[in-house]
Structure formats: C-alpha cells, structure tokens
C-alpha cells in the first residue's frame, strides 16, 4: 500500500510548511535586522537582543514568568501526581467526579477560567499580583499533570505494588521505591508540559495578575497593542528556541520509552 509521495502531495506539504513557518522565520530573521523598519534590511545586528536584555520591564517579566513556571510546575507535579494516584485507586463514582472536575480547566475557554479566578480572588479579597498569578497557574497545570500520569498508572502492572510488599517492603516504601519510579516518565512529561503551559499562557495570567506584576506574554501583548517593536522579534527567537528544545526532549524521551517497549 505504501506509495512514494506524489509530486502534488510534496508541493502541498511544502506550501503548508511555509505557511506555518514563514511568519516565525521572518520574526527571527528580522530580530537580527539593524534597521527598525521592516521593509528594509539594514544589515546584521544583535542590537535588538541588547535592547531586549537592557529592557527592565521585560527582564522583570522574564524572571516572573520563569519563577512562576518553575514553582507552579513543581507544586502541580506534587499535587497532580498524588491526585492521579488517589483518583486511580478511588471508587468509580469518586473517580468520575474528580476526573470530571480536573477536566474543567482544560475544556473551558481560557477567558472563562481567567475571569472565574479573578472573581474568586476578589471574593476572597486577595490582592491581585504574584500570588494570585501563581495560584492560577497551579490551577490550570494540575490537570495536565494528572493527564500525563494517569496513563502510566494504567500501564502499571496491577500486582507491582503487591510484589514489593510481598518482598518485604512496607506500603510506604513500596510506594516510593516502585510506584513512583514506574510512573516517573509520566511525572517528567507532566512537569515539562506544566512548565511549557505556564510559560505559554497569556489569557488566564492577563485576568489574574495585577499590581504591576507581569509575564512575558502580557508584556508582548501590551507592546503589540501599541505597535510593533523589534525587541519582540528577538524575544520570539529566544522563546521559539526554548520551546523547541523542551519539546524535542519530551519527544525523544517518549520515543525512547516506546522503542524500549517494542524490543
């Protein structure tokens, strides 16, 4: 059944590929353009990168973005992994209820999640800022961790835990020396996913932050609304590189695991 790619398919694929990548490529190329205007090429320059790194607002936002991403990923990995284990061993009704609730932030529109959290923080009289931003990120990250860990739990041999107990391990030791290592690929994927989601988020952050605390996404939005700034191009290039690296790691990991299984 396998045929060689027909020329038509090849051209079509190339066109779609260009459509998907040309805008990103243009951004990256123009991040090295010495001239501020987009029509003209003023020669190669790193000055927008220099300006980017000397822009205090952006650097502050970068720190906020990264720290929120790291902390929310760590917290949601802990809560999410525990939740996945708890849900997995729960009775059917509890399982359905908790899974349903954890699906809400993934199904719901970001804008609805964002304003619902905003209303909550106001209701609780919390000042919008770093803490509310962090709580929001944890909220939308936990479901992704559960989503990544759950399949690993299902793949787990249902006797693996009993085998450890049988060999003399206490239940707690069996949990940490067998269950956690066995599901660790899911935990790592969940952590990377949570980290990426957190960096990528704009809409929820937009509604749940305040007091001058801002993330990169929010900075980009504010700048883009005012018009085009070449620093954003430089930022795009960096972020693209980071995201691509992270995803490559995730993909190589999962394909390695799969190959191991196939043998």
């Amino acid at each position: 059944m396998k045929k060689k790619l027909s020329p038509l398919s090849l051209i079509y694929s190339l066109l779609i590929f260009v459509f998907l990548y040309a805008p990103i490529a243009v951004l990256i190329i123009y991040s090295f353009n010495a001239s501020k205007s987009r029509g003209t090429w003023g020669g190669f320059s790193l000055k927008w990168y220099a300006e980017l790194f000397s822009n205090k607002d952006i650097m502050q936002a970068l720190i906020t973005t990264l720290s929120i991403a790291v902390i929310s990923a760590v917290v949601s990995v802990v809560i999410g992994t525990a939740a996945a284990v708890g849900i997995y061993y729960s009775r059917r009704r509890t399982k359905a209820l908790l899974t349903g609730i954890s699906n809400i932030p993934m199904i719901n529109a970001d804008i609805v999640t964002g304003i619902s959290l905003l209303l909550l923080f106001i209701f609780l009289k919390l000042d919008l800022g770093y803490v509310t931003l962090l709580l929001s990120h944890i909220t939308f990250n936990i479901p992704y961790v559960i989503l990544s860990v759950m399949p690993k739990l299902r793949q787990l041999d249902k006797n693996a835990f009993e085998a450890a107990i049988d060999l003399g391990a206490t239940p707690l030791r069996a949990f940490f020396s067998v269950i956690i290592p066995e599901i660790s690929p899911g935990i790592v994927t969940g952590a990377i996913l949570a980290f990426t989601m957190s960096i990528d988020d704009f809409v929820i952050s937009f509604f749940t932050t305040g007091g001058g605390v801002s993330t990169l996404s929010i900075e980009i939005y504010t700048m883009a609304k005012r018009g085009i700034k070449p620093e954003i191009n430089a930022l795009s290039a960096i972020m693209f590189l980071v995201v691509m690296t992270l995803l490559l790691i995730v993909n190589i990991r999962s394909s390695k695991v799969e190959k191991k299984k196939e043998r």
Binding site: P23, I24, G39, S102, T113, A224, I232
Partner: protein, 277 residues
C-alpha cells in the same frame, strides 16, 4: 491500596476552591445587579432582540470561528493524510515539525502576522517595491480569519493525523482485496474511520477561535470585536462584572453544549484528540 485514595485529597480541596468555587461565582455574579440584588437583567440585556448589538457580536464570533474552522479542515485534512502515509522513519519527525508551531507562544504567532500584514509591513513593502498596489487586509475580518487559521491549523492536523496513523493497514488491504479502488477505499473506509479525529480537530479549532480576544484585538482592530473582547471589556474597562459574568455563562454553556455533541462522536473512539504530543 485503598489507603492511597487519600492522596487525592489535596487536589480535591484545591479543585474545590480554585475550579468549582470560581464557576459557582460566575453564575452568582451573572444573576446580580449593580446593587447586589438578584436580577435577570444581565441576560435580557444580552439577548435583546430589539437591539441585537450583543447578539450580533456573538453571531460574528460564531461565524468567523466557523469559517476559520472550515478552512482549517480543508487545509488540515489533506496534510494529515499525507503525513499519515509517510514511511515510519520520517513520519515521527515530520509530524512533529507540523505540530511544533502550536507550541510557539500564541501571542508571538499573532504578532508575527501583524508584522507581515501591516500597511507598512513586510508583505506590503515587498509589493510596493515591485510597484504593485498594497494589500490592506489588516483590521478586517479577513485578518481575523487568517490569524485563526494560522494559530489553530496544527490543532486540526494533529488529531486527524493521530486517527489516520492508527488505522490498521490490513483494513485498507481488505478494502482493496474486496475490489475497492483507492477512491472507494478513501470514501468508504478511511474517511468514516477518521471522523473521530475530525470531530476533535473541529472542537480544538472552533472552541479557541470562538472565545479569542487577542487575535481580534491585534489583527481585527476595534470594529471586529468578538464575544471574548466584550467579556474582556467588562472586566478590564467598564467594570460591569454582572454583565461580563452573564456573557461568560452564555459562552460556557455554548462550549459545554458543543462539547457534549462532540463527545458523543468521540466516545466511539477513545478520544484521540487528547494527546498533544
């Protein structure tokens, strides 16, 4: 093993506060007037058929999202199909490449089109240099659709691709064996089998397109506001939380309703759209 159930407790508490309570609050606020009294006014204002300002916005959101979704489907299905027929070795890498842009920051992807489409942007500078007339697409509905298509195309390709690669090759051989030529095999076997992927592709494209406010704001300008812009406006500018909440409730019901319909199809397959990686 039953002892492990307790591990879900922190999540249950967290979710109660940060997932369930906020949704309850939205409903509460949506039925609240300016003085905190119970009222249906927020909803009657939205569903005002004699002055359909807001309904028009809702309609525009649905209409633009629908067009974007159809274009994504038309562009994405053939792409997913081509990818699924590639030999195993290159398939993984290439499908990864086609899905990668969706992980690029959504604002940057939109911003990229600003730099391309602007009156003094790259495309127009290029056209002017060639002595051609400029292309004034910026701040039109066309630009919003373009932005949607660009942003959500990978979300259409991926689930369809996921379903197509899983189709058992022997099913295709069986069809050929039973006398189906490639056209028949496609129409009678591949297409029906790929419907679950198409369904999740549609939901993954339509849902974010209908609720966006970034794309409309950056590429559509003020005159092409969508329901997302309206909601954002209530919370960020006018401070009319009741009305904003009411519109969120409408949006939520719209999405959950659509999900229900989609789910019915997807249940037959095991939710192939859920895997993003």
């Amino acid at each position: 093993m039953k002892k492990f159930r307790i591990a879900a407790l922190p999540f249950a508490v967290y979710a109660g506060i940060f997932i369930v309570a906020p949704i309850v609050l939205i409903f509460m606020y949506s039925f609240q007037g300016a003085g905190g009294d119970f009222t249906l006014e927020n909803f009657t204002r939205f569903f005002n058929f004699s002055d359909p300002t807001y309904l028009k916005v809702l309609w525009r959101s649905i209409y633009l999202a629908a067009i974007s979704t159809v274009i994504c489907l038309l562009l994405g299905y053939p792409m997913a199909y081509i990818l699924s027929r590639l030999p195993n070795r290159v398939r993984g890498i290439l499908s990864f490449l086609f899905v990668l842009p969706m992980w690029m920051n959504f604002l940057l992807r939109t911003y990229a089109w600003m730099t391309l489409l602007e009156r003094t942007g790259i495309i127009n500078t290029f056209l002017t240099n060639l002595g051609l007339p400029t292309w004034d697409i910026m701040y039109t509905q066309g630009a919003v659709i373009l932005g949607n298509v660009y942003n959500f195309l990978p979300f259409m390709i991926l689930p369809i691709y996921n379903v197509l690669v899983k189709i058992d090759k022997s099913v295709l051989e069986a069809s050929a064996d039973l006398g189906g030529d490639s056209g028949v095999t496609f129409r009678k076997v591949i297409l029906p089998l790929s419907i679950p992927g198409v369904i999740s592709g549609i939901s993954m494209t339509f849902m974010p397109a209908v609720t966006t406010f970034v794309i409309s704001k950056l590429l559509g300008g003020g005159q092409n506001a969508l329901i997302g812009d309206l909601i954002e406006n209530q919370f960020k500018v006018t401070g009319d939380w009741g009305f904003g909440s009411a519109m969120s409730v409408v949006l939520m019901i719209l999405i959950l309703g659509a999900m229900q319909i989609m789910q019915r199809y997807e249940d037959e397959n095991d939710g192939s759209g859920g895997v993003l990686l």
